[in-house]
């Protein structure tokens, strides 16, 4: 499954990020591959907001489509 298909409240594990620059930035934010995050908000057709601890990050829809995730709950 990809991040753009997630629903608000889903708990997910990030399994793959397509682009290497984005992967580097995600590591800095602490949402790199393998991390468990919460899908905090989904703007209809717009960005997906993921949350980890106190951190909230908005991810554009096209980018979210390139992030593979695994549903945990």
């Amino acid at each position: 499954m990809n991040l753009d298909k997630c629903k608000k409240g889903h708990k997910i594990r990030i399994t793959g990020i397509g682009n290497s620059d984005i992967r580097a930035q995600a590591i800095r934010f602490g949402i790199s591959e393998g991390e468990i995050v919460c899908c905090a908000e989904v703007v209809p057709a717009g960005p997906v907001v993921v949350q980890k601890n106190n951190q909230e990050i908005a991810i554009g829809r096209r980018l979210a489509r390139q992030i593979a995730v695994e549903l945990i709950s």
């Binding site: 499954m1 990809n2 753009d4 298909k5 793959g16 990020i17 397509g18 682009n19 290497s20 620059d21 984005i22 992967r23 580097a24 930035q25 995600a26 590591i27 800095r28 934010f29 602490g30 790199s32 905090a40 908000e41 703007v43 209809p44 057709a45 717009g46 960005p47 907001v49 980890k52 601890n53 106190n54 951190q55 909230e56 990050i57 908005a58 991810i59 554009g60 829809r61 096209r62 980018l63 489509r65 390139q66 593979a68």
Partner: protein, 655 residues
């Protein structure tokens, strides 16, 4: 001193240390900077960016503030500048937000890995406390290997201890594997920080040393992330917390159902403040009373002693478009108050954490025209001054986005000087015609943006933005940002406006201005269906956009002609200063294409509206025409979507 060619020159006495404040965005660096330096602060602008770097004296040393970054590399201007200042530092004071420790420590560890002596200020402990978050400071100090000082910057807590500990700054613990790799590079790159960045594949630093950039960024980053997560796991104990009002409001701001009304409400307040108070009362005073009433007669009388106003130098200096009269009045009397107003609002949005949420809310709409949510910043500023907004497009992530944004700003965003006049004219029109005007401009904006996005080569960047907690903005911070940004704008824009006035002055005294007006007449009369005098207002629109629009008052136009005039003048080539900045920011060739493209489109669209009106005989016909063009464009680009380029390595895309 090792001098990096990317920066401004900061004068630093030979025996003083460079103390650099570094940290993630919004962690309190500037509050620390102000507390440590006091009044004597210099702000320098980095060439080619809109970033201002403050530096000030601290005893015998110099303190330098840096832009907030999540790591140092070459991802954007902020990082490049922060990187160069940090690599050049004698001591780094790293400000860390206790609430976002896991995010912030990545940068901390990266700076430790550069080997520079460091102290950490663990800030925002009040907010962390409110969330029931406890941090073992002694253990953190041991694990990082550098002094850690607990602080609450806004309450000045911990400041004295920080000042004492700056002299105890030391290099922290580095991962053993990384350390030996850095050691291997030591012969070729003496500076450990630069060696680190080369290993991490930073192209700029690698090039400075003539070494191929390394390919181990990801491995180094992952190790660092693991190390940081481990440290956080040991030092933080989490309390329980519910969602505060701040986070609920924050969520509401990005969901369209609630976010759009909130945004509209904020824009309405902004309109009341800038559009009514500043553009009306303040500008009325500064432009008319102060500049035209006092200043202009004064320079006229002085210059008039040497040149008569009708002589060639006289008319260039103090004539209708005089460099000393019109330019100065325009910049100080009109633009400066408006730019201050816009920056005040924008800084308040930024400081409160609302701006990134506006970016998230508008991302969807903006990605349709090849931009992302970040582009709201230049777009909002464009309604203040298109010249300013064109400069600010430097914040966008790619050349492609800058190209689209600069073009759309030049074409379809009316600046405040023009808006005032448009608003005045529009009140005399009936609702259908007002709708026609608004729909025309929106259609042009959307259709042009969509087509550019469809046909321009390259890829636009996507939104990836941290949503900081909402806070009440701090007046001091907001004012400081407003004043430095406006000041730098005036510095950068004055030569443009003066050069523009000079050019127009020359056109006028040589008679070329009149010739241009005559050349334009067939277009205005035949194609736009406007009286022949209207050619003048288009030329005037080039001098100052509001002059152009104001000229429509006196032409005795019928209502439909007024709309055609307004649409054309809104789309028409931006004023001469923004023309010059377009040429400066883009290449000469691209600037020329944009400029003539805007000119062509303005007349094409204005004229088409007129022709459709004649053919259908009704305003509704024109509106229906516009809407069908809009829908057709959206539909066609939907059908012939560009295949997204597959940049992924082995990931499946959902459709």
């Amino acid at each position: 001193m090792h001098c990096h060619d990317s920066g401004v020159k900061i004068n630093i006495p030979p025996d003083s240390r460079k103390i650099v404040l570094a940290g993630n965005p919004n962690v309190g660096k500037s509050v620390f900077f102000n507390a440590l330096t006091g009044l004597y602060v210099d702000v320098s602008n980095y060439p080619g960016t809109t970033l201002e770097i403050s530096h000030g004296r601290y005893g015998n040393d110099v303190i330098i503030d840096t832009p907030g970054v999540y790591g140092i590399s070459s991802f954007n201007d902020e990082e490049r500048i922060a990187r160069d200042i940090i690599l050049d530092a004698d001591v780094v004071v790293d400000i860390v937000d206790a609430v976002h420790l896991e995010r912030d420590l990545f940068l901390t560890q990266q700076i430790i890995d550069t080997g520079v002596p460091m102290v950490v200020a663990l800030n925002m402990l009040d907010e962390a406390g409110k969330q029931g978050r406890k941090i073992d400071i002694d253990l953190l100090e041991d694990l990082l290997g550098v002094p850690v000082i607990p602080t609450v910057a806004v309450k000045q807590m911990g400041m004295d201890e920080l000042k004492e500990k700056i002299c105890c700054a030391r290099s922290g613990h580095i991962d053993i594997g990384l350390h030996s790799k850095l050691h291997e590079l030591h012969d070729r790159v003496a500076n450990q920080g630069e060696a680190l960045l080369i290993l991490e594949g930073d192209p700029v630093v690698a090039e400075r040393h003539g070494i191929a950039p390394g390919s181990e960024r990801e491995e180094i980053y992952l190790n660092r992330r693991a190390r940081v997560n481990d440290i956080v796991g040991h030092v933080v104990s989490e309390g329980s917390k519910g969602l505060g009002f701040g986070s609920i409001l924050g969520r509401m701001m990005i969901q369209p159902v609630t976010g759009i009304p909130i945004l509209l409400f904020c824009l309405y307040l902004m309109y009341k403040f800038i559009g009514v108070f500043i553009a009306g009362d303040i500008v009325g005073f500064t432009e008319e009373t102060l500049m035209q009433g006092k200043y202009e007669p004064f320079v006229r009388s002085i210059v008039g002693r040497y040149f008569s106003e009708s002589s060639v130098p006289g008319s260039i200096l103090i004539g209708e478009f005089g460099v000393l009269t019109m330019t100065v009045t325009y910049i100080l009397g009109l633009l400066l108050p408006l730019v201050l107003g816009f920056y005040l609002v924008l800084s308040a949005f930024e400081d409160s954490g609302y701006l990134p949420r506006i970016a998230a809310l508008t991302d969807r709409a903006l990605s349709g025209i090849g931009l992302n949510g970040r582009a709201v910043i230049p777009i909002i500023l464009g309604f203040g001054c298109v010249t300013l907004a064109t400069i600010v497009t430097r914040v966008l992530g790619s050349e492609r986005e800058r190209r689209i944004a600069v073009f759309l700003l030049a074409l379809a965003i009316p600046c405040s000087a023009q808006l005032a006049v448009i608003a005045g004219l529009i009140t005399s029109l009936n609702g259908t015609l007002v709708a026609l005007y608004v729909i025309s401009i929106l259609t042009v904006l959307i259709v042009t943006g969509t087509l550019l996005n469809r046909f321009l080569p390259g890829e636009s960047t996507d939104l990836l933005i941290d949503l900081p907690p909402l806070r009440l903005p701090r007046i001091e911070n907001v004012l400081k940002k407003t004043i430095t940004k406006s000041y730098h704008f005036v510095l950068e824009a004055t030569p443009l406006f003066a050069g523009g006035a000079l050019l127009i002055g020359i056109l006028q005294v040589t008679g070329l201005l009149e010739m241009l007006q005559r050349l334009l007449q067939p277009v205005t009369v035949g194609w736009l269906g406007m009286p022949k005098e209207s050619a003048t207002i288009f030329i005037m629109g080039f001098v100052r956009r509001d002059f152009g629009a104001a000229g429509l008052y006196n032409l005795g136009l019928n209502d439909f002609q007024t709309v055609i005039g307004l649409v054309t003048i809104t789309l028409f080539v931006p004023c001469i200063a923004s023309t010059l900045i377009i040429f400066k920011e883009r290449s000469r060739r691209e600037g020329f294409i944009m400029w003539s493209g805007v000119l062509f489109l303005a007349f094409l669209i204005g004229g088409s509206l007129n022709q459709v009106y004649r053919a259908t005989g009704s305003v509704y016909g024109v509106i229906i025409g516009l809407i069908s063009v809009l829908l057709a464009t959206l539909l066609l680009t939907k059908i012939f979507v560009r295949k997204p380029k597959l940049t992924s390595e082995g990931i499946n895309y959902g459709r």
